[in-house]
Symmetry: D3
Subunit: 291 residues, 6 copies
């Protein structure tokens, strides 16, 4: 039995300083569910990842990294007719980071309902999806819906991370509609402070809603009580990956039956370590790194 | 009066060793006409470049580099609604280099007939285009056609570089048709040994056809006589940019009224220096570097 | 019409950690007016730069960078008989940075009155010079004087940045005399807190005197009122270039008719971004980066 | 007793690819006699070096390296009133390397007769000087003369390496005169194939004249017989330092009483290893590296 | 069923230029059987690796890499009481590479008979071991013996690579005895030209003996006929890993029933690609890279 | 006469970020007494170092660095039968640094009583040893004892730095016994706050006991009065080497007869600068760097 089943797009990522001048860049792979999957695997959970990659070296890298970390990749598909997507990230001190997505018609965005293994999701303890996937096009959206349907039917709880990336959406209204619907199908909902407006209808007491506030920490309301945890204080080398790492830490503690406060703490700790590396996932802690 | 007018797409380029393992990459900008333009400017010619870039840092970098090198960029347009395209190149010793293009709906591919300044082309000594542009979509294809029409009307000779990039074409047949037509509208035609079949109808005696053979040199048939020049022998750091550099050297000598043999030699020399750098354009020689 | 005309020496700069041990260094170009010119150009102003460089690759680099950034370099001269100067900078955490200047008889120090285009200065909105140039020798000093004379005759206001570099002066007394005289010919005067004693005679109420205090911010007295602005708080990667960037931001706001407080704020912001990069000029903000 | 006494200028050296574009450079120290001294010390000979450096980090680096390698630096002087000189070297594949010297009035060029310890030279087995030093100005020239005078008086043989660096000389005629005179005062003379014309009067049978031809090897005429040795075949990473390394190898074999052929072979071997590193001196072989 | 079962020590490896001067090094993991295992896995074979690593980050890295590449690591043991071994390699152009082993009492050397799963070896198509393992001490030697015994009992053929590393042996005589015995227990024997003397008793016609000669290619005698293959000609970035890669290529072809000539060719090709990277294993070809 | 005589093991050190992922590492040399020796030499004291290194490039590097810094290395021995030891250090932001020692049977650990020059120690003003050396085995322990005996006999005061490295000891009890005994033989004792329990018997009023507390500063009790000094506040690039640098600064001030407060201050200053570099020793201040 798999602890967590997740699906989404993984991509190549090129990171640099100011793109206008830099000749050195960092090449890695990333993806919201990719990072969460590795985070959970490192903490000792069994996890399966579903996604499509191109039959190219970026695709091979994604599969190799996941498999190396112990994530079950038997459902990953390699698409010979599309390339693995790419993100170009720019970090400038004193200015917000920027990302340009090169994923139009990427292999990852072609994930479709037919790729979703109903039985394997039904045999998992938790399904985790993010709002990025529903922004990738109709196929991917349907795939998420299919997965959620499978989970609901089998009584598997659904965890959703809102992950609103404005450049992937045609309009805020469209995002609001889709993300709101997605959020409403969750039992556990991760939402950024600045995303609250997008998923208003889902902010109900019966749902476990975790609100993340970056350096200001995170909170959760559980059975009518609000719990808070500060961010884990470390130097930030690269902020990307924090949210996904937080999700991994939180879900890990949830799976182990820890208290809401402990869930937040573990989320904060894992997120704190994640940002100490230029990679989204390489600084994720092992089980033995937990305090 | 401009010596050479050219148009096409310029992009960001990320180069690395084996993508599966590398974490270090090189970030630069490139483009066939971009490289040829800089090559000509460095050799002392006045040159205008037309293209569309995104309103992003890659776009700014392209414009800044061209302007810095003395290329006239007053016709370049920044498109606020599209990103500058990107290419991911992989170099492996002992294996052919590979490139994945991320330019679907890029700013550069949106160049359209309406962007082409008829009068400025008419006031040039030469128009240069490449076969890459006609592979980018209908708009770009029409823009090239408009430019060639303007040249023909004004009696400005047209230089064409075939530049067949298979991954940009739906089928070989489509490439054959479009590139053949393009080649037939040229007075000066640069074609690789392995591209000869694609532009058969254009291989007529009345056209100046330069055939490039990589390390095996190049030849041209001019007024019934065949001239040959060997490649310039230097260590190859990165093969990309050689063809475009060759074109720059050849056209430079043509503009100066040098003999066919001298044109080939200058082409070979400029191409030889171009590949001594990981950048397509940074090793291009200055006027004072010419032998 | 040019917004700002400036003149001075631009040089190569080699930066490293402790010179005793480092084998890696950074190669770039710099210069007080060079940096201010780029800062103004990026903020959308038209600016002309006058200077002499050697006919070498450093000289070409200086011209290429300026032209790429949109600075008018038509007055720049390449001197075939002298090399472009060089500065070796050493940065050690916990110890003050050090710089050794290799500019004795450099091309830049040979700027002479005969190189100064009276008419172009007369057609500018502002002339900007720094105290470094008057330290470079009699020729350069006379060139500055000629430029200031041209401005005064044409009613063009003069901006002076004191920029006292002790190693370039024979004695403090000599610096005091020359810099004091220079400062007295300005309408706008930028002076560091620790340079106030050098230009005492110029510290009069009728002059716009901006006092910079590094991390402690800056102030200006305008029409009897003192305005203050804090420094923009960002991590300092390399402190060089801050002063010149501040001047660019301040003059930009002045040219746009903003209030003294706004001038200081823009100066502080531009200076703050400038020090986030190891380069003096590459982190200078674009117009769209302004808050 | 010292095996070899040598004197000259050591400097900082910044090496990069094309200066126009490179942002990465290598920082090291160098100098013809500096390199020869280390080469001899590594082969087990006792060697003393005389020179002046600035009281700066480059000067400290020079002394530290020499002392670390076992060269006697007790005669080195630190000059508080001058900076250690600097050389900027550019390497471009397919183009000759270039060097710009920043040593006008450097500490090293201030070496004067008063710094030359007559007794210590008299107590050496060999004195070695290069033609670079006599190009540095009257003081340095006189210092060399003083040293040679001391050697002659004491019957210590003099080794001279011509080392003609055109940019350090006012005219070829001046170089010819000075270098010819210097060469005539030697018992062992190292001269490049392309320098033969400069020292014609010194090319007499009674002198041990070693002619170096780069990749084509070297030869020596000894007691009427000509000996030849090919260059040691290795990939050339950076050609600088080869000549000085050759001198070290040759003199080492000479001091050990080996045959002319063996002297050439050792010179070639040491020179061959020297160019396998970007540093002039770091790849010099140890005694145990000798074949 | 596993195609190939292998066992041995994997270690960390630090590679640098001349250790005396270099401050930059490369950190990776390596091991003869480790490399062969990855080589086989990349070519599509199922392979199991047995070894002991420390409970440290090097140990985790070894397991992660193997698992990522699809090697079955279920038999790998993490030893909490010992560290993963380390090798320091020095590469100098023009001089032979050197390696210092830090593996005294390493986790890998503690592999013991009790760790060897008889049944899993019996269920494999081939067992592969190297002579390095028998040099690591009595425990490791016994483990190899146990494995070979299991293979013999089950009729599984044994492949041995002699891999003589002099610094791991007390004396040549000891190596001769142990390696000779090991070689005699093989059906397929890989031996370097310079190792032939060590395993003389094993050089019998009934055994498939492959002799590797580095750049001079390899040969095998099969059923009385000698087959030869040249080395695959590519630039050598780092020679380490070539032998192990050759073994992987050869065994791959053997498992597929290819001819002796084809086995050699594939071995040569895989070895040729392996040395194009500073890593022993990262340049190993994928199935699709095969010609 | 030597100011300070010291003995111990110097090693190679490889430093990297997370070992699991990093491919880049830093190669340097280190050692507690090695660092203290250089720190003292840079501050102008004469110092002799005794230790054993292998006849390898790491050993040569250790000797070269020490000699270059002016440390007397005439007592250093090169052992042809053992390798210089190595340490692998891992630094992760947000996690404590880790070090794995590869020094079993290293050359340095073979230092034996027979290597200790009684007369040279007797002719020194101070003997300094650390607790690391007594952890290296019986030979090294006896060597320390011999040195201390020689000092005591000659009336030379003994300085001891506890330097407890848990992984080098079989058990805490063993460390307690040996380190306690060592501490009791000292006149000046450096002990970390967290090491106080290990050397309880030595914490007597008649001994000069300096307690270091990392970022919290240090204190000393001298003639009944307690003195305190804060840590010198600088960014910490790499914490290794701080303790040894502190010892160098403190002993330097002690040798100059400064007050306890001044000794602490100098210790703190030297330690503060030491951690601003990735190297243990390269950032150590020169005499002229002292405030």
């Amino acid at each position: 039995m798999t602890d967590v089943y997740t699906l989404g797009e993984a991509l190549g990522v090129v990171s640099s300083g100011r793109v206008r001048h830099e000749s050195e860049a960092r090449l890695d792979v990333c993806g919201p569910e990719f990072t969460t999957a590795i985070g959970l695997a490192r903490l000792g959970h069994s996890i399966s990842y579903l996604g499509k990659v191109g039959e190219d070296e970026l695709g091979t890298r994604i599969v190799t990294v996941l498999r190396g970390e112990g994530v079950d990749v038997s459902d990953v598909r390699m698409d010979p007719s599309a390339s693995t997507g790419l993100v170009l990230r720019e970090s400038r001190l004193g200015r917000p980071a920027r990302a340009v997505h090169y994923r139009t018609d990427s292999a990852g965005s072609r994930l479709a309902p037919g790729n979703v293994p109903i039985d394997r999701i039904a045999a998992s303890r938790l399904l985790h999806v993010s709002g990025v996937t529903v922004a990738l096009g109709w196929d991917a959206r349907d795939a998420v819906e299919t997965a959620i349907g499978a989970a609901r039917t089998a009584g598997v709880p659904v965890s959703v991370s809102v992950d609103y990336v404005s450049s992937l959406w045609g309009s805020v209204r469209e995002a609001e509609e889709m993300l709101g619907e997605l959020a409403c199908s969750s039992q556990v909902l991760f939402v950024g402070q600045d995303e609250l407006d997008l998923v208003k209808p889902a902010l109900l007491p019966e749902r476990e809603v975790i609100v993340t506030r970056g350096a200001k920490g995170a909170s959760v309301r559980s059975e009518g009580v609000r719990y808070d945890a500060p961010a884990f204080s470390v130097p930030v080398v690269d902020p990307f990956g924090a949210r996904e790492a937080f999700v991994a830490g939180y879900l890990s503690a949830l799976l182990e039956g820890l208290t809401p406060g402990e869930r937040l703490s573990r989320g904060a700790y894992v997120a704190g370590l994640a940002v100490t590396s230029p990679s989204d996932w390489q600084a994720l802690p092992s089980r033995t790194d937990l305090p």
